[in-house]
Amino acid sequence: MAKSRIPSILYAYEEELLEEWIREQLASDIWRGDLLPESELRRQSSEFLGALRQAAESDNLTDIMTPQWSEVREILTDLSRSRVQQGFAPWETATFIFSLKQPLFTRLRQELEQDADTLANEYWAATVLLDELGLFTTEAYQKSREAVIARQQQELLELSTPVVKLWDGILAVPLIGTLDSARTQLVMESLLQRIIDTEATIAIIDITGVPTVDTLVAQHLIKTVAAARLMGADCIVSGIRPQIAQTMVQLGVDLDVTTKASLAEALRLALQRSDQTIIRKSRDAAGG
């Protein structure tokens, strides 16, 4: 195949292509003016077109993974990342590339009107290239989104597993959200470490914030209780709502551990077991 005309067209008509492309994007039904100002779109478009022209000068229009295309890839990755954060849908992001087809094809036809064979070839080359770039954008978009999800998961894990010291020798673990294996592991590790640090003998596991207790969650609870017991600390499970008590019995779940309806009741029991009491000061004593 002869040398492609696409690089020279990109070079000769960069200004015109940019204007038509931006007009195309702005006129499109899916243009989200609420998410992205026009000036920003103009900057992104001209940046990309400039990089595309430079990369195309290498005469390699089929493989965008080569070093010549690294700048284009970088721009697209940045663009996808910012669009994820701005709340664009994946297809809206990919349309950024695909909407370049029409202006480019128009120029190609204008230039190669006399030569149908070459025109068809150039159409094909341009389609392949833009499709590749579009897919790359989608992939980058996906990766950015996955990174966001992974970060949120990590943050959620850190947020949801505090171990608090409630009293001398008494720890509390307020669990919030569904218990899965990963979280159980984390809860177990931090609880056991805190037992050592504070020399606690009683740990209260409060499940007020756990939406449902099925056999799997119960299994995880039992494991945590057993591990704490091996370290020499007794466990009390508190915060069991009436509905959860019903489902637990219906499922035949036996936690095999002391349970209390509320954290206050559990604390009372824990104090009693560790031979401590809380006494209300009488008004006279406090005054005199």
């Binding site: 056991l192 050592i196 494991k223 057993a226 591990a227 091996l230 031979d275």
Partner: protein, 131 residues
């Protein structure tokens, strides 16, 4: 032959495992300890495993067995100082050592033993004392 020392402190036998347990050592300990309980008529046994970093299912089961055997010989047994990693491993192996009493460290283990040794005899005398 390599063995784990068993110290006698009054009514209590103290076993501290300071080396990595292997199978033969665990069996030796089981035999030695049961012999010593019988010969000294000890009332309590305290097993300190704070230096134990690695356990497998066999060692886990041996710990449970040793405690059960001591109980048969009428000696109260407390396992103390288990590390978090060891506790998690045992639980994941399905060995939660039911029936074995545990405490955080030797101090608390001795308190537990003393309390349970004293309570049957002197319950009425000073049962309300700090436990």
């Amino acid at each position: 032959m390599e063995s784990i020392p068993i110290l006698k402190m009054g009514d209590v036998l103290l076993v501290t495992i300071q080396v990595d347990m292997h199978d033969r050592l665990a069996i030796t300990l089981q035999e030695d300890l049961t012999d010593r309980i019988a010969s000294t008529s000890a009332q309590g046994v305290l097993i300190d495993i704070s230096a134990l970093e690695v356990v497998d299912s066999f060692i886990g089961r041996m710990l449970g067995n040793i405690a059960a055997m001591s109980r048969v010989l009428d000696a109260e047994t407390v396992v103390v100082g288990m590390r978090p990693a060891v506790a998690i491993t045992l639980v994941e192996l399905g060995l939660s050592l039911r029936g074995v009493r545990t405490a955080l460290n030797v101090d608390k283990g001795m308190d537990l033993l003393r309390a349970s040794l004293r309570s049957p005899a002197e319950e009425s005398a000073d049962g309300t004392d700090e436990g």
